[in-house]
């Protein structure tokens, strides 16, 4: 086992987490509004955000709850939509330093979201628990507080505001993906290929019957398998 210890600080994590936190604040307002329109009690909506911390999963969750769906339905959709976290979590096992123990792994697992993961994995060095807690702090607060605001004000908020908020999350994804794609051909190729696959799953008859969460996994894995073949990463000299 490597004995590498990361020197990243809690404070650096908080700093890196600020834009995510503010992004989450606006996106979770949109989530709260949506839940209030579906007549879900405010405390339930806030509890969902505080215990799930996942946009797509929560959205489908409240739709199932509002539609009086079953537990089985909830389990299956969450498994499919959130299975990307399984991949991200697996990737992170190669990124964490030796100061991680079981307790910090159990706690840090809670905070694996698309954005937190993207920022943590784009760090050049290994990450330690302190950094992850710092990184997750503001996103967690932003996500919970935003949900509370949205759920409380939902019925009073005009549509032009809620629909403008709808694009926030996706804009943030673009902001994560584009800069590294400019720098590395492999990433650029991955972005383009995955986008094409994803559009295929959206527009092509029969393929568009596949649920969004499942389609995302197929697109991502297929893309990564192909791009990794043509653009293998440089082997770094691990100090082990």
């Amino acid at each position: 086992m490597s004995k590498s210890i990361s020197n990243l600080k809690f404070k650096q994590g908080v700093k890196d987490g600020l834009p995510i936190g503010l992004g989450y604040l606006s996106v979770s307002v949109a989530f709260g509004v949506k839940a209030s329109l579906l007549q879900i009690p405010i405390w339930i909506t806030v509890l969902i955000s505080m215990t799930n911390l996942t946009s797509a999963g929560q959205l489908s969750g409240i739709e199932i709850i509002a539609g009086a769906g079953t537990i089985i339905e909830i389990i299956l959709t969450q498994l499919v939509i959130n299975s990307r976290y399984f991949l991200m979590s697996l990737t992170l096992t190669q990124k964490i330093d030796s100061t991680f123990n079981v307790k910090s792994k159990l706690l840090c697992s809670t905070f694996i979201t698309d954005e937190i993961y993207a920022v943590a994995s784009s760090r050049p060095q290994k990450i330690n628990p302190k950094y992850v807690y710092g990184l997750a702090l503001l996103p967690y607060i932003g996500w919970s507080v935003g949900t509370l605001i949205g759920a409380t004000l939902g019925n009073f908020m005009p549509t032009f505001i809620t629909s403008a908020l709808g694009i926030a999350l996706y804009a943030m994804f673009i902001a994560i993906v584009i800069p590294p794609a400019k720098k590395e051909r492999g990433i650029l190729f991955a972005v383009i290929l995955s986008t094409l696959f994803s559009c295929g799953f959206y527009y092509i008859p029969y393929l568009n019957q596949i649920s969004a969460g499942f389609a995302t996994i197929i697109c991502a894995v297929l893309t990564a398998l192909i791009v990794a073949y043509f653009f293998p990463i440089k082997e770094e000299n691990d100090n082990e």
Binding site: M1, S2, S26, P41, I44, I48, T51, N52, T54, G61, I65, A68, I71, I74, N82, Y85, F86, L87, S89, L90, L92, Q94, V102, K105, L106, C108, S109, F160, S163, A164, L165, G166, I167, L169, Y170, A171, M172, F173, I174, I178, P179, P180, A181, A190, V191, L193, S194, T195, F197, S198, Y202, T216, C219, V221, T223, A224, A228, F231, P232, I233
Partner: protein, 102 residues
């Protein structure tokens, strides 16, 4: 659905989501040696985010035209390496303003 039933649903959701995140990080301890597997894992996040963004972003505002403007603004600002927050805010503003014009 009663609030108790909703609570049960929420707890189930949270557990499933947590288990999916927790299992690899907690139980997978090996260092991956294969250069190919490492490369696959390296590209996964970019592929995931791209697939989640397109084409869903075009339908994120309830109006294709405002969404296209918002997407263009996000792409341009991201190209010039603006922060996540700046990109998100200006994209929302573009949708908001353009929504009033059309």
């Amino acid at each position: 659905m009663s609030e108790m039933q909703m609570l049960l649903m929420v707890i189930t959701m949270a557990l499933v989501t947590y288990i999916v995140r927790m299992i690899p990080l907690t139980f997978f301890k090996r260092k991956i040696k294969s250069r190919y597997i490492k490369s696959v894992l390296y590209y996964i996040p970019y592929a995931v985010l791209s697939a989640m963004t397109f084409p869903a972003i075009f339908y994120s505002t309830g109006n294709l035209y405002t969404a296209l403007i918002g997407t263009a603004v996000a792409l341009i600002l991201a190209f010039f390496k603006r922060s996540l927050l700046t990109v998100a805010i200006f994209s929302c503003l573009a949708v908001l303003i353009f929504g009033f014009i059309i």
